[in-house]
């Protein structure tokens, strides 16, 4: 198992549990706090842990070369741009859909959008990094 992956897996689980706890809480304030903290913890651990899952085992020196490689820098910049643009488009549609559904109001809309935003950035960045 890769170093550090356990910590991020634990953090992801904690974030998910906080999120679910918040979702099923009757107290609106408690819901808001738990969902917000859950999303932050889940988003942070996913963002930090995902590269450990997708990256190949390599020695530190070659990782440094890969990171500073000018072609990889160009690919990362392109991937970030495409991920950002795709996320903005996806956010517009999902925000509209959530509001139209009229079931998720107030904090739910914000929580849902934050979650979608975090996941979209991670997924699209990974997708375009491979594709470009």
């Amino acid at each position: 198992m890769r170093k550090g992956i356990g910590i991020y897996a634990l953090l992801s689980s904690t974030g998910l549990m906080l999120l679910l706890w918040g979702l099923f809480s009757d107290n609106p304030m408690q819901t808001g706090i738990l969902v917000s903290v859950g999303i932050i913890v889940l988003g942070f651990s996913a963002a930090k842990g995902a590269p450990l899952l997708t990256s190949k085992e390599a020695d530190k020196e070659s990782s440094v070369i890969e990171w500073h490689d000018e072609r990889n820098i160009v690919i990362r910049e392109k991937a970030s741009w495409y991920a950002g643009m795709t996320t903005i488009a996806a956010m517009s549609v999902s925000a509209f859909a959530l509001v139209m559904a009229n079931q998720f109001v107030g904090a739910w809309v914000i929580a849902g959008l934050l979650l979608l935003y975090s996941l979209s950035i991670i997924l699209f960045a990974a997708y375009f990094s491979k594709k470009l």
Binding site: E66, D69, R71
Partner: protein, 68 residues
């Protein structure tokens, strides 16, 4: 832009890995340069030219029509 990188590298008996290590870039970058999928920065072009003790124009051939 075309280039003669693969031809020059093979003539010198150097592998992509060796060239990549000497230039501090990834092997994939050397492969992409040789296939014409990636054009190097001016700094990398100079590094490559100096590595082979050639001028940039000896390695990279700019084709104006292809860029339009």
């Amino acid at each position: 832009m075309r280039n003669r990188l693969e031809e020059i590298r093979k003539a010198k008996g150097i592998t992509q890995e060796q060239l990549a290590a000497a230039l501090n870039v990834s092997r994939q970058t050397i492969g992409s340069l040789e296939n014409g999928r990636y054009n190097p920065s001016i700094i990398l072009a100079f590094k490559i030219a100096r590595y082979f003790d050639l001028s940039i124009e000896d390695i990279f051939i700019y084709e104006e029509d292809a860029e339009l």
